[in-house]
């Protein structure tokens, strides 16, 4: 047992001395495990994983904006839409662009629009900032329709070709596995790798000098100014990062669904993202992952509830059940676990570890 503790101490020392490398190793290991799992999951589950991955990236971006810099945005679904349409428009004009570059274009588009809106918006605080982002969310449909010659207007803008698994990927599996299953597996793997990269960058950003500066701006903007931090610069940067992550999530979702449609990126989705952020846990990486998984599986669970309870399909109750459940989860979370599911798990683990620490001390002194 004492050897185990020595190994733990050594790992902790290594982690403290090489934090970026430590996070990189963890990222690679977790991504590899997840990618391996996709080869043993059904096409449906792989599809849900890909959807959950898209949403977790968006939630993480909002988590950074809210948790790190204390700002609120109701327009993240619209920023998702910006990334989605940028991806679809680019793909329709440049069909051979690699997937990684296409995703980067989606993220940069989100960032550019985030900068455009963030520059004036971050001069506002609290409900006024929320109101401005709400304005963007509501006007998104109109913007898409206005630029109808680019966006396709009312009709969804399709990708010219669906993201299908390359031949080298297909060759690794038995020929008896349906093409659709392999394509879903490939999409899920792209999504998982994108989650890994984006979470790695966010973890490092959060713990960097920039991240610390933002938290100081959040907690005490007077003190932040006194130590030389530019408040507008910090707030705009947080807004741009959040929009970039939303754009990346939208770009990835376009790859998963094969098209971009403004009706997907509605104000209702922005509210859902905010709810999932709170339910998962603000300011935590694991909270964003949990939020993404809940989003992906929510339709499955709601269908199960409707099936088991005999609620009439198409009735008022069934139509509003998602809102009821998300709203209810939000209220319960605020009452019982204000730091979200991730926070509740951490606090529970903390209680266990404190009990363990008390048990260990007599052994160490003995």
């Amino acid at each position: 047992m004492s050897a185990l503790f020595r190994v733990g101490d050594a790992l902790r020392v290594y982690r403290d001395r090489h934090p970026v490398l430590w996070r990189l190793i963890w990222t690679v290991v977790l991504v590899a495990i997840a990618v391996y799992m996709t080869t043993h999951l059904s096409a449906t589950t792989d599809g849900l994983l890909a959807t959950g991955a898209c949403m977790s990236i968006v939630i993480l971006g909002l988590s950074f904006l809210t948790g790190a810099s204390g700002q609120v945005s109701l327009g993240n679904a619209a920023f998702m839409g910006v990334g989605a349409y940028a991806t679809a428009i680019w793909a329709n004009h440049h069909t051979t662009t690699p997937v990684a570059v296409v995703l980067l274009i989606g993220a940069l588009s989100g960032a550019a629009v985030g900068l455009l809106i963030g520059l004036p918006a971050t001069r506002l605080r609290g409900p006024y900032l929320a109101g401005m982002t709400l304005l963007f969310a509501i006007s998104f449909e109109g913007i898409v329709l206005f630029f109808g010659s680019w966006t396709g207007g009312d009709a969804p803008l399709q990708l010219p070709t669906i993201a299908v698994a390359p031949q080298w990927f297909v060759d690794r599996f038995s020929s008896s596995i349906p093409l659709f299953t392999l394509n879903q597996m490939w999409l899920a793997d792209i999504a998982i790798v994108t989650v890994g990269v984006s979470f790695f960058f966010m973890a490092n950003l959060f713990r960097s000098r920039t991240g610390r500066a933002m938290r100081l701006v959040r907690d005490n903007d007077v003190a932040a100014e006194l130590v030389g931090i530019s408040l507008p610069h910090a707030r705009v940067l947080a807004f741009v990062v959040s929009a970039a992550y939303a754009g990346l999530g939208g770009a990835l979702y376009t790859l998963v669904t094969g098209n971009a449609s403004y009706s997907t990126y509605s104000l209702g989705l922005s509210i859902t993202i905010l709810s999932l952020l709170v339910i998962g846990g603000i300011g935590t990486l694991s909270g964003a992952l949990i939020g993404g998984v809940i989003f992906a599986y929510s339709t499955t669970w709601i269908d199960w509830i409707v099936g088991k309870t005999g609620i009439t399909q198409g009735g008022n109750l069934a139509a509003n059940l998602p809102n009821i459940i998300f709203g209810g989860l939000l209220v319960i979370t605020m009452l019982v676990a204000p730091y979200g599911i991730a926070g509740a798990i951490k606090m529970g683990a903390g209680k266990v570890s404190r009990r363990f620490r008390v048990t260990r001390m007599p052994m160490a002194s003995g």
């Binding site: 790992l11 799992m37 879903q184 009706s263 570890s353 620490r357």
Partner: protein, 451 residues
């Protein structure tokens, strides 16, 4: 300090464990299809469709896929086709539009992926132009035929790019050319005004009028989104303009909700033109349901429309057959009685359901997706309710090429104009509407194996 590490490990471990537990709700190894044809086994063929079972487009349209399913259930009750039963899975995509009572998943790509995961042999009778446009590449890349799309868009007639994509109903252009021919003959030199949907339904429909030699004096395009948000009053300025401009004939390329809005506004304004309404939005039962029967007499009575299928008043043997089929399907039509009228949506869905069953029978006991499509392309299918026998070809994936002009005779029925002459044409700019000689308005003969 150790406690901190334990806490971190516990946190990540619990997060991974939670995720694994959630994933276990769908954990299964991907299975191969025996024999290599997706959706086909020795005893069953699985097909699917994405349709608006709930949500903004569900009034009326939710019955279409269910009527087809009733046909397949009836075929199954008679032993299936070549030893196989037909399993028809309907996925609710809410026409890709969230809210408005939607309890499905308002994303056609997501629902189509759910069908592909089953897997399905083909999608049959999925509904909507933008919705089906959004999944053409998805289905093509997965090699799954997209059959009998419920929409009159030209987008389904693109054999070069989408060889496994087929429409079924006449194109909006074909319908409008035939109705233009009728308007010119019946209302010569009278002012015609046009109200259409601001997508290809409206643009193709308007183009068909022009191809048919009729250019409306006023052309107005409406937005479905604006109609949903603004309600019927959104149409008030349009109808008022028609009234003040002395339009004698008003042509509507409108969905049922928009038809009701136009008729309701005209009633309020005291405006009584000759209405000519696309078959997409003219079914009297559906429109009357939208109006909730509040306007008496029904303002649609006397309006002219178009039908590629037998009208309600025609003594077609298909009416009795469809009634028999719907009566047996209590799950999809729990309130349907022998005396219930068959509305246009039920007839529509039953008709392409019959077509699929006939193609399947013709395809034989052993078939692939490619051979099924070949069967569809190289045979005529006269034994369906369609007034003109279906005949697809390498250059025609659109579907039906004509029909007759009918009139709304009551709140629940349509009847032929005149003796029910059947016309045909195509979607080209040529003004080439012709009569199909000897064609009866009762549809084709019912195959003996379906009786």
């Amino acid at each position: 300090m150790i406690g901190s590490s334990v806490r971190r490990v516990a946190t990540y471990g619990a997060a991974i464990g939670l995720s694994a537990g959630l994933l276990a709700t769908g954990l299964a190894v991907g299975t191969a299809s025996a024999g290599g044809v997706p959706g086909v086994t020795a005893s069953k063929i699985t097909i699917g469709a994405t349709v608006p079972l709930t949500g903004i487009a569900s009034p009326g349209y939710s019955e279409v896929g269910k009527a087809a399913r009733a046909v397949f259930n009836y075929v199954n009750s008679k032993g299936g086709i070549n030893g196989r039963t037909i399993s028809f899975v309907l996925k609710d995509d809410c026409y890709g539009t969230p809210n408005f009572g939607c309890t499905g998943t308002p994303n056609t790509a997501t629902q189509t992926n759910a069908l592909l995961a089953l897997p399905v042999f083909a999608t049959v009778g999925s509904l909507g132009t933008p919705t089906q446009d959004s999944v053409r590449n998805l289905l093509k890349s997965n090699g799954v035929p997209q059959l009998f799309v419920n929409s009159g868009s030209h987008d389904w007639n693109n054999p070069g790019t989408y060889p496994n994509l087929f429409g079924w109903q006449p194109s909006y252009t074909v319908e409008s050319k035939i109705l233009a021919h009728y308007i010119k003959a019946t209302y010569p030199n009278q002012k015609v005004c046009y109200l259409g949907q601001n997508d290809d339904f409206g643009t193709d429909g308007y183009q068909g009028l022009v191809y048919g030699g009729l250019t409306p004096s006023i052309k107005t395009m409406y937005s479905v989104t604006s109609l949903v948000l603004g309600g019927a009053s959104y149409f008030t300025p349009f109808i008022h303009t028609f009234q003040t401009s002395s339009c004698k004939v008003v042509f509507l390329d409108t969905i049922p909700a928009a038809t009701a809005a136009a008729l309701g506004n005209a009633h309020s304004l005291g405006f009584k033109p000759h209405w000519v309404i696309s078959s997409v939005g003219s079914d009297p039962i559906t429109v009357n349901n939208v109006l909730k029967g509040k306007i008496k007499p029904d303002p649609e009575i006397g309006a002219t429309s178009f039908s590629p299928l037998p009208t309600a008043a025609t003594k077609s043997p298909w009416k009795a057959w469809i009634t028999k089929v719907l009566l047996k399907d209590k799950a999809d039509f729990p309130s349907f009685k022998a005396s219930s009228p068959i509305d246009g949506n039920m007839e529509y869905g039953a008709s392409w359901g019959v077509l699929f069953a006939e193609v399947l029978k013709q395809a034989g006991a052993s078939f692939t997706q490619a051979s099924f499509v070949h069967t569809l392309l190289t045979n005529a299918f006269p034994g369906t309710p369609s007034l003109i026998p279906l005949q697809y070809s390498a250059s025609n994936h659109q579907g039906q090429i004509g029909g007759l002009v009918d009139t709304i005779s009551s709140a629940t029925q349509t009847k032929n104009v005149g003796s029910g002459v059947v016309y045909k044409t195509d979607s080209t700019p040529a003004n080439n509407v012709t009569v199909v000689p000897g064609q009866k308005p009762a549809g084709g003969p019912i195959p003996s194996w379906l009786s």
